[in-house]
Every structure is written in structure tokens, then in C-alpha cells.
Symmetry: C2
Subunit: 127 residues, 2 copies
DNA sequence: CCGGATCCTTATGGATACTG
DNA sequence: CAGTATCCATAAGGATCCGG
């Protein structure tokens, strides 16, 4: 992730390398379609599990729970269980989660801005 | 991607829905680990295939070519083949590619900034 | 309503070998 | 050196069921 020169093997690089590998791990966790779409869907508001499933279209029950667990584990979303019957579980972005969301926003905006460019690039490539 | 109300089925929504599904497709393409790491690695400079493989650590030959083709098809990278022997192929971010890179930069920065928070969140979760 | 577990089918991705 | 193709193990992901 960080430039290659960090990997020269000097003694004091030890914790830098450790940080780097941790960063890679986290990056691999969040740099996936569903995680990013969930973060984007949560936006500013709190959503229940079933609302999220409607909001993030195409996501399966399994992928949703799986990614929510991962995001919760990494401290990006907060999971609040209301002990009612039927149960009510709400998901909210934490502060770091909201910070990351702004980056996801940029990507979404970028996508819409470049639809035209991408479509024509595809046309050229496929020819 | 865009809010659900766009899907109400009114006639004039037709091309909005089309744009939306195209955006989803593009998003699915680029929202993956290797694509983002390649974009980040390309940064401002031009790199050869073999340099990229060294730079993006852990990427296999197959994943690299596969993602490079995809990025080229979507007009994010430019592929320049020098007809020498041995061949020399250079990859460069296009203007849209560089625009997206700034968003990827933000994600990378975010990751390093929140290493501590994430580590302790994991500690709590795993307990 | 939420979530875990199971089964089962695809898709992903690595290793390898071969071409220009 | 760069790219394609093939083979193959394993992981991802959908469907379904049951339990709290």
C-alpha cells in the first residue's frame, strides 16, 4: 500500500510493516462492492436490517449480514438491538464510518459524471 | 445506487433507470481490491506491466491483466504498446482515471488514519 | 424480524504452459 | 516481456430451513 522503500528490512521498519499489513487487510475488507454500497446506503440515517436489504438492491440476506458483521467488527457501523418482539435491529455509521462515506460519495459522483466517457470508451474497446 | 424513488415507473424515468443500471455496473467493476490498488499504484506515473506487478504486491499475473483490461475498457487507463523486442507495454491513468484516483487516495488515507480505532474495535468485537 | 447454519452451484483466482 | 489459454482447487454466494 505504502511505497516499496518501506520494505527495506531496517529494524525500525518493523511496526511500519505491521501497520502496512494491517492497512492492507482493512483495505481488502472494505474495498468490495457490497460493503461500499452498504456504507453509502446508511448515509446519514439509521436503518433496520430489512430496510437496508431494500435499499441496497440486489444484496442477498447472506451478503448483507456478512458485510454488516465485518463493518461492525471494524468499527464502521454500530449495531443496536431492541429487545422487542419481533426484534428490531438498527445499523448506524460510526464517526469513522461517516468519514469513509464521504470518499464513497466521491466515487459515486465520479461514476455518474463519467458515464458518457465510459460508455464511449467501451464502444471503442469492444470494436 | 440513486434513491429508490427513481424507480416509480414513470415514463420519463426510462433513461434514468438506464443510467442507474450502467452506474451500478461500473461501480461493480471498479469497487474491487485489485482495481483500486492498481489505480493507486499508477498514481501520477506511467508503469510497465512488470513494474505494476512489483508495485501491487500480491497480485497475480492473471488478476493484473484481467483488471488492466477492464480498466482500459472503461477508459480509466491508457495502454501503450511499444513494438520493440522484447515488448514494452506501458499503462497510464487517463484524466477520468486520475480523477478517480483522488477518491482512492482518500480511502487509503482514511485507512491509515483509523488503524488504531479499527484495531481496538476488532479487539472488542472478537471478545 | 433477524440471524445463524447447511447445502449446493457457480465463479474466482492461482499455477502452469505456450505464443509473438 | 507481455499476454492468452487451460486446468483445477477453493472460495463466494444463493436458497432454504430452523431457532430466538
Amino acid at each position: 500500500m505504502v511505497t516499496k522503500q518501506l520494505l527495506k528490512g531496517l529494524p525500525e521498519d518493523a511496526d511500519l510493516r505491521r501497520a502496512d499489513s494491517l492497512a492492507r487487510e482493512i483495505f481488502s475488507d472494505i474495498a468490495n462492492k457490497w460493503a461500499l454500497l452498504i456504507i453509502e446506503a446508511l448515509g446519514e440515517r439509521t436503518l433496520r436490517f430489512s430496510e437496508l436489504r431494500d435499499e441496497v438492491e440486489g444484496v442477498s440476506h447472506k451478503m448483507l449480514t456478512q458485510n454488516l458483521r465485518m463493518l461492525e467488527r471494524n468499527g464502521l457501523v454500530d449495531r443496536k438491538v431492541h429487545p422487542t418482539v419481533p426484534p428490531r435491529v438498527e445499523y448506524t455509521l460510526t464517526e469513522p464510518g461517516r468519514a469513509l462515506r464521504t470518499a464513497v460519495d466521491v466515487i459515486c459522483g465520479w461514476t455518474y459524471q463519467h458515464l458518457g466517457h465510459i460508455e464511449s470508451a467501451r464502444g471503442r474497446f469492444d470494436a
